[in-house]
Symmetry: C2
Subunit: 334 residues, 2 copies
């Protein structure tokens, strides 16, 4: 017996078989996964959403989550951002030889719990092991399938002049929590990643309005990046107000100290909804009832002049252009 992952755990042989049977299948058991054919077989109908993400966060355990929780939430959230109900995930590991089996077990259980919370089944998987030094502990890919209810038509291309920009809560929590853990910073001891599945929140706001035009979760690149993407895709400008954007005190101080701008720091449990102004209040009220939307706020609106541009009114009353990030201030945050 071994307490570490060996190359043979990825060989397609006996150790791989045992890892799949006694760890993965026993945690994620469902009748589709348990068939273990080369592909899972499912029955679905209508419009499907399909999305993929690799997770390479370092460290793999951080305040408020771990790489397993992140891998489920991140992909569930990408499905939710086109208004889909997430159903199925595939899960593929790249493991560095020498990873402790105990750490892997913790990640496997975290995946189980988060998948249960989000209401998704893991129906396909793969495990590769690479030599020590050829990866960094554990990388995960999750790819998801969801169904889009009829009448729902949400896209980054659908922002329109006059739409309100609603943010579901504070920004920067995930990025700063991971960074603090990685660098051993101690001025953020209370801060946790906001990592959470947002499909429930999305279903609830879709229940009160059919006029939600765009949804985006501001992960890598932060709020600034997704606003720029939407401005470009929809050919509109977006104007936001700094004073309206909720930022935790700890995130704000950490950013000041580290020379970071919270607008560019990753979130894993927040969304931006760009909505018809006539439904803004109803959506905001509904959002605030959900545990992940308590601090929701209207942070700006969509305009037409200078298509592709995002402008922020600062606390000082001046205006500045919020550009896309050029370097990589926070690598391996997700």
């Amino acid at each position: 017996m071994t307490d570490k992952i060996l190359l043979s755990h990825g060989s397609g042989g006996k150790l791989a078989h045992d890892l799949i049977q006694f760890s993965f299948l026993s945690a994620w058991a469902n009748p589709i996964l348990s068939r273990l054919d080369d592909a899972a077989v499912i029955e679905v109908k209508g419009r499907l959403a399909f999305t993929t993400d690799n997770y390479v966060v370092q460290p793999i355990f951080f305040p408020g989550g771990d790489i397993g929780k992140l891998a489920v939430c991140g992909t569930v959230n990408d499905l939710a951002m086109v208004g889909a109900i997430p159903h199925y995930l595939s899960l593929a590991f790249i493991i560095e030889e020498g990873l402790s089996l105990n750490d892997l077990e913790m990640v496997v259980n975290s995946i189980k719990q988060t998948a249960k919370t989000a209401g998704v089944d893991i129906i396909a998987g793969d495990t590769k092991v690479v030599n020590h030094g050829c990866a960094d502990k554990l990388f995960i890919n999750t790819t998801g399938i969801g169904t889009i209810p009829s009448g729902v038509n949400i896209s980054g291309h659908h922002a329109r002049r006059g739409d309100a920009v609603i943010l579901s809560g504070t920004i920067g929590d995930h990025g700063i929590a991971v960074l603090s853990q990685r660098e051993g910073l101690d001025f953020t001891t209370e801060l946790k990643s906001d990592c959470a599945p947002l499909n429930g929140l999305v279903a609830e706001i879709l229940g009160v309005s059919t006029n939600i035009h765009c949804l985006r979760d501001p992960t890598r690149g932060g709020l600034a990046s997704i606003l720029n993407e939407v401005a470009e895709q929809s050919g509109v400008s977006i104007r936001i107000e700094e004073s309206k954007i909720p930022v935790r005190e700890e995130v704000s101080s950490a950013c000041d100290m580290l020379g970071l701008d919270p607008l560019y720091v990753a979130n894993e449990g927040k969304l931006v909804a760009i909505v018809d102004p006539k439904d803004t209040e109803a959506i905001l009220e509904q959002m605030r009832k959900n545990q992940y939307g308590q601090n929701a706020a209207i942070i700006g609106e969509v305009g037409e002049e200078h298509p592709g541009r995002v402008v922020m009114k600062t606390r000082l009353g001046t205006s500045r252009i919020v550009d896309v990030v050029v370097g990589e201030p926070l690598p391996r945050i997700c």
Copy 2:
């Protein structure tokens, strides 16, 4: 300008945007991918097949293919092994900082060509970059969706006593080709990986028989492993004959020299079909008409005694149990 991948290529910022626009989108262009929403939206109906694989082959270029071709073929083949028609792939990169942009471009083009040959579209993607030394050049995840024609019901659970075991061609070509490249062996100069999309071949044999019970592609762990899996899943025994299994001279000599058994060496363009004996000849004849099935042969049959056991009649006339692999003789072959 840079000729190498930087961390910022994975930041969600400007360099990442340019890489996606000018490299990935221009190579793989299709209207679904080009939307660049958080999830792709597709219309599908009926029974779907869904499968995922990580590819970590080392080196990333080898005789007969590269990691990009492999990533498309491997996932297309897993869909084909449940009788599905492959339609869509997601493609997610983990890139080591410092990878040459030229190498990445070659892989991107290889993906384009192979996807075209296999008739699949890449509709979702992700790119992560990790620091130098935290990955080994390039890892790829592909996850695929296919549709299963009505009446097709293929599974490793469906092998029945009396079924014939057909192998579509020579074994061990991929594993030995990759190993030779990696170790600089020069006695296999003519040998190429068999890496190929098998969905055409599968569609053709499904055209001549509705009595194909199982299909498997003998990748990691080789022919021995997939026969053991099917024997276990179907609760049957499988008897094969060594003299009937096609092995190239070069593979055979390389295996002798390296102490490897070709039964355990990976293939990436071969399949095993377990079929009703009354259709064996029709299927074999059809298979041999396809470029990837020219050397197809009946290599054994399914029995009932000792469920889960695979037995081989050797060239010497004796019988031996063909067990699952225990160690990992050939890491990172796929």
